[in-house]
Symmetry: C2
Subunit: 268 residues, 2 copies
């Protein structure tokens, strides 16, 4: 290892733009790291495909990033994390991190009454991935899952505050409030952008932002394995997409709340 | 031709459940007809795929229905109608009808000031298919297109009335109201279910329901070609899907506002 540390990039992928919330947190927590982001926008959404198909796509995304000499892989997609993380970890030699374990661990640390809510897409909730991860850490936890299908289109439209977002959050979260959970996992990479309205509706409940928790896990792994970039220069971000860069740029800029540059269309 | 007329079924397909609004209108207008409905739910949404891919999928759906000896094909999907209707008509011998022409013709008949609004998915609006169809009939028409991405998830969630639907409609349609269009085409097969709130927001504007117009066109073609079923028995409906029948049944029953039966999963 040189004094500049390990300058190789981190590779991050998602089926679309949701994983940009994870990228944003990694930039905030690890500003010196170079990042490659792959959004498989031609085949989004993964959440409605069979687990076998998702795994096949996930391996293609992984191969694409491995060819670019990454030092760590971040699976910034709940569906892929739920269905494919173990399979990928068995096959590749660079370390990899999904979004579910970090969120599950943070929820277990945060709850006082052992009653945890999880919101996500239908695919994530149906997979019970968070319930399994949380109860694997502590079998006495009670986990309530709830799918909120309108949250992703709201975020992609940029309507993350105002009355429509507020009323939608109230309508979805009403049942969850009755369950007396003291902790709520935002189990979809789009949802951190709705933290404001969700926090208003779920006042007094601890919100677990899986983007923040995943970035913390990335930091911890880089430190443990001594893989940090110590070159002193600010890190770069490059984006790859499998469909039109234009829509990715438009919607992604709303998600990141920052204009996106250096977007390249690729075949994988 | 026997006295029972032509008992062969009509074939209807869509990428998912949206086309059920067209089916429902056909049942209402033509209760004696037997209907086969194919929803390519494993590959929904078509609207985000390239035209070449949509055409390939559309031919597979068409072949599936032709193998079941249909007498007429209804393409109950705006994306397929916009990209593939001509290609399909060139290749097959049974008559076929898309959803765009009937809506465009009805809009031209309805408008007094020649200013027509069209709302639809991003893919439909970007394709300019309605603008082209309307101005092909009358070149002096002015057409305003507007994508309303949240309408489909609202309908699929069953939230078709109440404050959230109302506020969403107000927010989308505000700009369109300023354009002084006197006619609005609901250019997406999901949107007829939002006719109530859209009508409130666009008071005084004629709403063109492309499901109703398409069913009228089907009736006219059956009459012209003497293809009506005159057996006297009530028509049957059978549903085929390419992914899990369960979700199709849940969401489809909300769309049809009637429980769905006889759903079969198929490979196409």
């Amino acid at each position: 290892m040189t004094t500049t540390g390990d300058e190789r990039p981190l590779g991050i992928f998602d089926s679309g733009i949701g994983g940009l919330t994870v990228l944003k947190e990694i930039v905030r927590q690890l500003p010196a790291e170079n990042l490659l982001y792959l959004g498989d926008t031609a085949r989004v959404p993964y959440g409605i495909r069979s687990p076998e198909t998702v795994r096949r796509y996930a391996f293609q995304c992984t191969d694409f990033l491995l060819q670019r000499d990454i030092k760590l892989l971040v699976i910034a997609c709940n569906t892929v994390s739920a269905t494919s993380l173990g399979h990928i970890q068995e096959k590749i030699s660079v370390p990899s991190i999904g979004v579910i374990e970090p969120g599950a661990r943070a929820a277990v640390r945060a709850t006082r009454n052992k009653r945890v809510g999880v919101i996500g897409t239908e695919a994530t909730i149906k997979s019970s991935a968070y319930r399994k991860a949380i109860t694997a850490i502590d079998g006495s936890m009670v986990v309530f899952g709830l799918a909120c299908p309108l949250f992703v289109p709201l975020v992609e439209e940029g309507w993350t505050d105002g009355m429509i977002a507020k009323l939608t959050a109230e309508r979805y979260l009403k049942d969850l409030k009755d369950e007396d959970a003291d902790t709520l996992v935002l189990g979809c990479t789009h949802y951190p952008l709705l933290k404001g309205v969700i926090g208003e509706v779920m006042e007094g409940v601890a919100l677990i932002d899986s983007a923040v928790e995943t970035a913390k896990a990335v930091t911890a792994v880089l430190d443990e394995l001594n893989l940090r970039n110590r070159s002193g220069a600010p890190g770069s971000q490059r984006y790859f997409v499998t469909d039109s860069p234009q829509k990715f740029s438009e919607v992604g800029s709303r998600v990141l709340q920052d204009p996106l540059q250096e977007i390249e269309r690729v075949e994988i």
